[in-house]
């Protein structure tokens, strides 16, 4: 690995080296064994023991509970490295983290200790929230948790839920009163025979080998201290918990984007037609470059949001929904378009990369569905938009300070100390990131007037001007809506546009705050021109492709394909 976007990547770099080249063959994390496992609907033999030997499972447990989970950005990079190879395993551990987070955030000392012991010894956990008949409608949850003889009696059927059969501990959402929902931590080993029944593994499109099944509790007797935190705030807790893992799902999408780009690029270099590599065909090159740009946009959007868990957890309700919506749907497009480049090879379960493309495509299809579907996330964003627009003033000193810490990736953030009360159900209109757009544009203008104007500065400013117009129009549209219905089609559409603007500010600020440190092609800003163009296209604007910057990036891609570098902003060539 050459350049580093952030010191938070160091751990992931070591993990990547440990897992080895996925093309090499013969290891549980090489594509041949990954595809063989997928065909058999099993995890590749020794996959779990291999990463446990490295200590991957310790990353599910915060440092203060004896694990190695220090920050979300560190975890995100590691998750990306794993998802680049096998998203199924990332989901298996991700579901475990989802189940564990309520305990880290609200659990008692005993619950924390017992769960930490279980996870540090390699156990999985299950987040038992969904019920077959209620999906996203958590408030209709039917499971009941009735107080009895100083303890609780649990009756619930949770399906479809990850690790339901394999996990010992289940975090369950159930009704503790007519209006009250609460979370409880259930240790299956403490239940009497017959109190727990597992439902069969669900047959799925992808994630084959993941334990997606169900669990039923029949008059299960739980101790009096089984609740996680206070009774009556279960839905609040679930929504807060999702803010963390929703951000991690974006990392899974980044890993899959990285993997398929590499496959597409490798194929475009190897495949010879008409006497030349197909990489020489303009539309092939264009498509690969453009999908690479999507990866940049995904990185710029996700990394600051992951830092917010430590720096500004009060903002995650909005920001995590943006990452969870934008990055998976962008990655879906990338997967599709790289599939077009790979032609028939994208359809084969053998051959190029041992046929792993279709496995990654099927696995990744879940990213936009679980932990809030695309539309559920857009709805959450839409609910907050009027307040965000109303308070989108110029960032004050404190806001600018926060922005610098979020976007300057050169410093590691402090360690995360889980505390549920610091997470919020809504941002209350506070969104330093999108409010920073005018300021960021002024900073870019100042750079252009400065002693060493960036190579692509003028084009960047031109694109910014167009984005500013669209942003003003969007804000006007939202402010002018008299009674905002967040579930209306208009509101959901506005939420999607807001996400594109969020991504545009993120790209611009990542550029401004890391130019001096990273230098080279990153600082020149050709990638930023292409990223802003792509976002304008996303907003429905017809933009002519910038051929010069595309050609530069194509060259860099070619170079990167040979060196097997990470596909990231940091691997753009140094000056």
């Amino acid at each position: 690995m050459t350049a580093l976007l952030s010191p938070a990547q160091v751990l992931a770099g070591a993990f990547d080296d440990y897992l080895g080249d996925p093309y090499a063959g013969g290891t549980p994390f090489s594509y041949d064994e990954i595809v063989a496992g997928d065909e058999a609907s099993e995890l590749p033999p020794n996959a779990r023991s291999t990463i446990e030997k490295w200590g991957f499972h310790e990353l599910l447990v915060p440092v203060e509970q004896g694990g190695r989970l220090r920050t979300l950005d560190e975890l995100l990079h590691v998750c990306r490295v794993l998802s680049r190879r096998n998203p199924t395993i990332a989901v298996m551990y991700g579901s475990t983290l989802l189940a564990a987070n309520p305990v880290w955030l609200w659990g008692s000392a005993r619950q924390k200790r017992e769960l930490a012991d279980e996870l540090l010894s390699g156990g999985l956990a299950c987040f038992g929230v969904s019920e077959a008949d209620h999906g996203s409608d958590l408030l209709s949850t039917e499971g009941t948790l009735v107080r009895e003889n100083g303890g609780f009696r649990l009756n619930a059927a949770k399906w479809p839920v990850g690790n339901a059969t394999r996990a010992r501990f289940v975090t369950v959402l159930a009704r503790t009163g007519e209006r009250d929902l609460s979370l409880a931590l259930v240790d299956k080993q403490q239940l009497s025979d017959g109190a727990v029944r597992h439902l069969p593994f669900v047959r799925t499109l992808g994630l084959k080998g993941h334990d997606l099944s169900g669990v039923e509790f029949h008059d299960a007797v739980l101790p009096g201290d089984a609740l996680v935190g206070l009774p009556g705030i279960g839905v609040t807790q679930v929504l807060k918990t999702l803010q963390i893992t929703r951000t991690a799902i974006a990392a899974m999408s980044l890993g899959v984007m990285d993997a398929v780009l590499r496959m597409g690029l490798g194929y475009a270099m190897d495949r010879r037609l008409y006497g030349d590599r197909i990489f020489a065909i303009p539309i092939i090159r264009h498509q690969l470059v453009q999908e690479h740009v999507n990866l940049f946009i995904g990185e710029c959007t996700t990394l600051p949001i992951s830092r917010a868990l430590v720096l500004a957890p009060e903002r995650l309700s909005l920001w995590s929904a943006i990452a969870k919506y934008l990055v998976p749907v962008t990655a879906e497009k990338t997967v599709h378009n790289v599939g077009v480049v790979m032609g028939a090879r994208s359809y084969l379960r053998e051959g190029v990369a041992s046929g792993a493309f279709q496995k990654l495509q099927r696995d990744h299809a879940i990213a936009s569905v679980f932990e809030g579907t695309t539309h559920v996330n857009l709805h959450w964003i839409a609910e907050q938009l009027p307040a965000v627009v109303a308070s989108a003033g110029e960032p004050d000193d404190a806001a600018q300070d926060l922005l610098r810490q979020l976007f300057d990736l050169g410093d590691n953030t402090a360690a995360w100390h889980p505390d549920g009360r610091r997470l919020r159900l809504a941002n209350g209109g506070l969104d330093e990131i999108t409010a920073a757009w005018p300021l960021a544009v002024r900073r870019a203008e100042a750079l252009l007037r400065g002693p060493r104007p960036p190579a692509a500065g003028a084009e960047i400013l031109d694109l910014c001007a167009r984005l500013s117009e669209l942003r003003a129009a969007l804000h006007h549209r939202i402010a002018a809506t008299e009674s905002w219905q967040s579930s209306s089609v208009a509101a959901i559409t506005a939420a999607g546009e807001h996400c594109a603007h969020h991504a545009a500010v993120s790209c611009l600020l990542i550029w401004l705050d890391n130019r001096d440190r990273l230098g080279g092609a990153f600082a020149d800003g050709g990638w930023l021109v292409l990223s802003l163009q792509r976002l304008l296209q996303r907003l429905g604007v017809t933009v002519a492709v910038d051929e010069r910057h595309e050609a530069e990036l194509a060259q860099q891609l070619e170079h990167g394909a040979e060196k097997k570098d990470w596909f990231t902003l940091a691997s753009l060539p140094a000056g």
Binding site: L139, R179, D180, G229, L230, G232, I233, V235, T236, Q237, L239, K240, S317, E383, A387, G420, R421, R422, L423, R424, L425, A426, G428, G429
Partner: protein, 92 residues
């Protein structure tokens, strides 16, 4: 929840409401501004119903949920609403 709150004591009512809202949102009570609309904090209609039901028990009054949720969306407005309830005026 037993009845123990004095509906005529504005500051007591206000601080009880802030505490209860903070409980449902799981955030510190001092982060709840009495003049900010509760929807800004992500207080959805279901928690609003829970809050109003708590109030009914606590104050021994009947509340029109629709009217209270839509017409009195902040802590201070809710206090005004409660203080103006007919049951309360009769008791004076």
């Amino acid at each position: 929840m037993t009845k123990s709150l004095d509906i005529r004591n504005t500051s007591e009512l206000q601080s009880w409401l802030r505490e209860r809202i903070a409980f449902y949102l799981d955030q510190p009570a001092d982060t709840i501004d009495p003049d900010t609309e509760l929807t800004h904090y992500g207080m959805n209609s279901v928690y609003a119903v829970s809050l109003l039901a708590d109030l009914e028990t606590k104050l021994g009054v009947e509340i029109d949920y629709m009217q209270a949720t839509w017409g009195y969306p902040t802590v201070n407005k809710l206090v005004e609403y409660l203080e103006a309830l007919p049951a309360n005026r009769e008791g004076e």
